[in-house]
């Protein structure tokens, strides 16, 4: 009896889970990046592979609990003993592992090993408790030097740039929102001013930690216009849950107008 119930429960759980995954009840938002499809493809591959293992595993467990749950039957040993199981594990799982890691390596390499396009738009990103700020080099295309001792958020000097004495810094444009032109390669340089943070845009399929003391470059190209959330995924303190900024992907002309407006506001 208990065996039958157990089998039924496991079956229901398996079906419910499978349904939720296949029907995408909760699923990734539509991807808006050039590299994203590779990651999505990799996730779907894994869903297939792992999903089959999941269903197979649970159903065999359920089946055995169902079949051998009542007394009286003679004890049977599985033919061949452990050998076939071990071979199965090595061959099947082994091949899956190799397949996944080789395809996965491609997807990963496409994101992280491809050199950034030299023509890409460089933007400086600083994370701090609990907000992101973005810095555009301005007309001269040069970023001013950073002086941590000058950081004063009350006066909105978030980066610690010395606009009065530093020519490069004079025209730097500091914003609270990340606006980028669509279809243009973007190169972000991530650095944190206090503790660990992270840069996560679900639609971009980009997640990268800020590590204090390091400058971490990431590059991507957005393919759709729109406004998306940048959220922090590295526990950074009491405001972690509310540490976010907005990414707006604009057409080239809109982007230029926006940049002008920001420059005027400095």
């Amino acid at each position: 009896m208990a065996g039958k119930i157990f089998a039924l429960v496991v079956l229901l759980i398996t079906l419910a889970t499978a349904y939720c995954v296949i029907a995408h009840v909760w699923w990734m938002p539509v991807d808006i990046s050039v590299h994203g499809p590779k990651i999505d493809h990799q996730i779907e591959e894994t869903v297939l592979v792992a999903g089959l293992l999941f269903i197979a595993g649970q159903l065999v467990l359920a089946a055995f609990a169902f079949l051998y749950g009542h007394g009286g039957n003679r004890i049977k040993q599985i033919p061949g003993g452990a050998k076939p199981l071990i071979i199965f594990a090595f061959v099947l799982v082994g091949t899956e592992v190799v397949a996944l890691s080789s395809i996965g390596a491609k997807a990963w390499g496409a994101v992280y090993f491809e050199a950034p396009d030299p023509a890409s738009l460089k933007i400086d990103v600083q994370a701090g408790q609990f907000a992101y700020y973005f810095r555009y080099p301005g007309p001269d295309g040069k970023f001013g030097a950073l002086h941590p001792d000058l950081i004063n958020e009350g006066n909105q000097n978030y980066f610690g740039i010395d606009a009065d004495h530093d020519a490069d810094a004079k025209d730097d444009i500091v914003t609270a929102e990340l606006a980028i032109p669509v279809d243009k390669p973007i190169l972000l340089s991530l650095h944190s001013k206090d503790v660990g943070h992270s840069f996560y845009v679900r639609e971009l399929r980009v997640q990268q930690d800020f590590v204090p003391g390091l400058n971490i470059p990431i590059h991507f190209t957005a393919t759709h216009t729109g406004r998306f959330e940048i959220v922090c995924t590295q526990l950074c303190g009491l405001g972690h849950y509310n540490m976010k900024a907005y990414l707006s992907v604009l057409s080239q002309s809109d982007f230029e107008d926006w940049l002008k407006k920001q420059a005027a506001a400095q």
Partner: protein
Amino acid sequence: MHQTARHAAVHHAPQGFIRKYVFSVDHKVIGIQYTVLSLVAVFVGMALSWAMRIHLAWPDAHIPLLGMISPNGAPGGLMTPEYYLSLMTMHGTIMAFFVLTAAPMAGYGNFMLPIQVGAADMAFPRLNMASFWTTLVGFVLACATFVIPDGPPLSGWTAYAPLSAVGPVAGPGQGWGQNLWGLSIVCFCIASLLGALNFIVTTLDLRTKGMKLSRLPLSTWGWFIDAWVSLLAFAVLLPTCLLLILDRLGGTSFFIPGGLVINDQMQPHSGGSPLLFQHLFWFFGHPEVYIIILPAFGIVSHIMPTFIRKPLVGGWKVVTFAEIAVGTLSFVVWGHHMFVSGMSPFMAMVFSVPTLLITIPSVIAVLVWVFSLYGAHLRFDTPLLFSLGFISLFISGGIGGFFLAQPSTDSYLHATSFVVGHFHFTMGLSAIFATFAGFYYWFPKMFGRMLNEKLGKLHFWLSFVLVYCVFMTMHLTGFAGAVRRYSALVDDFMIALIPANKFMTVAALLLGATQFIFLFNVIWSRFKGPKAGDNPWGATTLEWDTASPPPFDNFGGRQLTVYHGPMEYDGEASVMQTSPQPSVAGT
């Protein structure tokens, strides 16, 4: 004059309450002390999770009790973000260390391992007592963070530097809360190291005549392998915590780089590396999840043959070597926690390979358990139910591993609730289910009385279903990009997921309520349960070859000789025969 191992602990049973039950050197008492400590800890940790779950589903809910406990953290019962993170940190710390690491290893291991190998006590009884009391001090220190004005730390159980290293400027709880946390973990490390040492020596040196390594019960194997893993892992967490404390109190900069500006204040540190902390922590942290799961492997492999009335496929060898492989590989995979941490992307790929490879021994173990059921004669007592639950949960949890082991997929799922669901399935609930299986199995031996089967089964069915409701849903919301460790859901994204969170919260609260059935069962059966014989389950290992509860020297002075392994079942007969290890029969 040298004393033989048997005489080592058998001077004569200590007299007087204190020596007998409080500062006892008897491994059985210490085992029970550990078990009770974990039982207390698990309910504390669970209560914390209720508060968190309620807050996530109904952020404006006032929890008056919470307001009473911490007028500072939850004024009027309304939880502040920092208090949520404090609860989260302590939930992780208490559960990972004082429940999952303590109960199945130190709790049952202490009680059962010496009996299973036929010894009178652990190799170093005083050391054993020392490790329990050190653990207790660690637990008290951890709980003390709740009563200090600043409250517990909010940097999570992983305590990533520099958040955990720079001190009070980083936020509430980062002052003495974090210091106490560090000290508590230091205590726990020392205790675990002493414990592991004791387990290893006992297993190697105190086996009774005929108890060859090939005849060790599989639970003993689990604890033995686990002892080696913790011996190496905690030996690295200890210095990590010491360096963290040095950074906080000694002004050093191991984990704190230069030029940090917190609240517009320049920090007086320079030259440290947050990644160093992550490497050191995860070098411990990943083996830790296997430290938690290996005893579970052992316990389930030990229990199943008794209730399926046949040996495991491949005998002791296959499972044991799978465990050894898992334990070994666990030391070369830590980098998969750092795929998006700024570690070189090449290293990420290097680490992903052993991480995927470790699934092979795990799959072998699972196949052994599942296919041992083939042609078996299942006896659905509660221990078997929980063992089957363990297998199902471990499969589900392991599956999630495929996604997190690959850098490319992890870069989307990292730090989403998918991860939370994943490690709750694997190191959390699989281990807990195995622990429950062990509890229902060994309770008669520990206290001489049976637990109530009806309540036990009820406990299982509810727990099993509700666990899936909570943590499978977490996996799924993870796919939608729900970020973990958020104290309130304010993103456009997260707001859409509040209904799912309401569902999880309700399930989690019911799950919590279910555990009181267990608690009642334990307390009631401890005094009113039917008397258990020496061997109520018809098992073969030595712990069932003595009285329940066993006498002070475990076998009443009998000198046992073992003639065969733990799984000698006469598998072909229609009536299942079992023969205890000391009997010459089954050979």
